[in-house]
């Protein structure tokens, strides 16, 4: 039934449906399961803490989450980043708010130049190495107050004892400005978990796929509309890149509806596929007892 309805929708209605679906999924995960990203990254810190202390690595709750999230990303791409991560959703919310305010005030939103952003994406690897290095040296606990994630989690949990977390709070406020001017500012440039995801191999089965042969000549709408500034390859399908966090905006931006994700033969079932991926992830979370 639903499938037929979805096929009947006009392009504009479909786009709206996709935007609302993503917003609702993000909001629900944000409210009810907000801590997965910190828990998964705590798994990374745990590994290096243990190695630094010459102790064996045991399968703790954090490490289990890390492994499951990485395995999920290998299969489906960074769907977790695009739809589930609370910090990513927070950034999307801040950015959307800034865009709405700009529209209301009839001001052109500020954006960072492509040249600047193209090298800024490497900052996250430096941050990852830095954190992992501190854990290995066993001194990470001394830098605890600098984590904007901790501050964010505390505020989210209604915990306002931020006395020891002043540096983290300042960093969070600076990030907030960045999130306004650039979509997914933190995710693209600073997220150490994103840095790990970028290294992972992603199965080519469920990624975004473009039927390039039926494109309008010279059309670059998908590349232009990409919040991660991913230049899609001229020929063939869109390679699933580590930097792609599966926002799926290119699907709706394409004037010819050439971009799809999910099982190749079932074109136009993005809504069901999105629900399926969110459902699988939710089931995994519940199974892990988050």
């Amino acid at each position: 039934m639903k499938k037929i309805e979805i096929h009947k929708l006009t392009k504009k209605e479909k786009k709206k449906l996709h935007i609302w679906l993503r917003a609702i999924i993000q909001l629900l995960f944000f409210i009810f399961i907000p801590s997965v990203y910190t828990a998964a990254f705590a798994g990374v810190k745990y590994i290096f803490n243990q190695i630094g202390a010459r102790e064996s690595i045991e399968l703790t709750a954090f490490l289990t989450i890390l492994i499951v999230i990485c395995a999920y990303t290998v299969v489906f791409g960074r769907f977790f980043c695009g739809f589930v991560c609370a910090f990513g959703s927070f950034g999307d919310g801040v950015h959307a708010l800034y865009r709405a305010v700009c529209k209301k005030l009839h001001k052109k939103p500020v954006r960072l130049g492509a040249k600047l952003t193209s090298w800024m994406i490497y900052l996250k690897y430096i941050i990852l190495i830095l954190i992992v290095g501190l854990c290995f040296a066993g001194v990470y606990d001394r830098a605890r107050g600098t984590s904007p994630w901790d501050v964010f989690s505390m505020l989210h949990a209604g915990n306002f004892q931020l006395r020891d977390y002043l540096p983290g709070l300042i960093i969070l406020l600076v990030l907030l400005v960045g999130m306004c001017v650039q979509e997914r500012f933190f995710c693209r440039f600073f997220c150490p978990l994103g840095a790990i995801f970028s290294f992972l191999p992603v199965f080519p089965f469920f990624g975004l796929y473009r039927h390039r042969e039926s494109c309008i000549k010279g059309c670059k709408a998908c590349s232009n509309g990409c919040p991660a500034d991913l230049g899609l390859p001229e020929e063939g399908s869109a390679a699933v890149q580590g930097e792609c966090f599966q926002c799926q905006k290119c699907i709706d931006v394409c004037p010819k509806s050439n971009i799809h994700c999910g099982i190749r033969k079932l074109r136009g079932n993005e809504v069901l596929f999105t629900l399926l991926r969110a459902g699988i992830l939710l089931a995994l979370f519940l199974w892990m007892g988050i």
Partner: protein, 146 residues
């Protein structure tokens, strides 16, 4: 596709290194266990000697509850004391804590039982939740002091 395989091989390599690391440590741990057990024996003998001096356990038998602030709310625990020593710490409620973090933080319970005191280190990575359990246990133990 080539990149996919390169990445797969690298990830498998890293996982392999971690497994190898664990195996080396396991082999070493066996040797260490022997020395540790010897050390514990000496410790136990010492403890037995000091216990004789102080005359029995440090706490009064019974169940005691305590509360403290965790990460996102109050954590309450029940400490069981039998034969003068702490035999169990049960979490009664921790609604504000996050599942994975609470599971990690529960690792502090064996430490409390082993130390027979709430003065133990917090669990790294789950500092707030384990602090909540520790402080709640400390509050409970205050009621149990002879």
């Amino acid at each position: 596709m080539r990149e996919f395989w390169i990445r797969t091989v690298s990830v498998l390599g890293i996982v392999g290194i971690l497994f190898g690391y664990n195996m080396v440590l396991e082999a070493r741990a066996k040797d260490e266990q022997i020395t540790e057990l010897n050390g514990r024996l000496a410790e136990a003998q010492e403890a037995a000697a000091s216990e004789e001096n102080s005359g029995g356990g440090n706490y009064q038998d019974g169940n005691y509850t305590g509360e403290a602030v965790g990460f996102g709310g109050t954590v309450s625990v029940e400490v069981t004391v039998a034969d003068g020593s702490i035999t169990g710490v049960d979490i009664i409620s921790a609604d504000g804590e996050d599942g994975a973090y609470l599971t990690m933080a529960e690792g502090i319970i064996p430490a409390i039982i082993e130390a027979q005191s709430a003065e133990v280190d917090t669990i790294s990575g789950a500092t707030f939740s384990s602090e909540g359990i520790r402080d709640a246990a400390a509050q409970a133990l205050e009621k149990a002091v002879n």
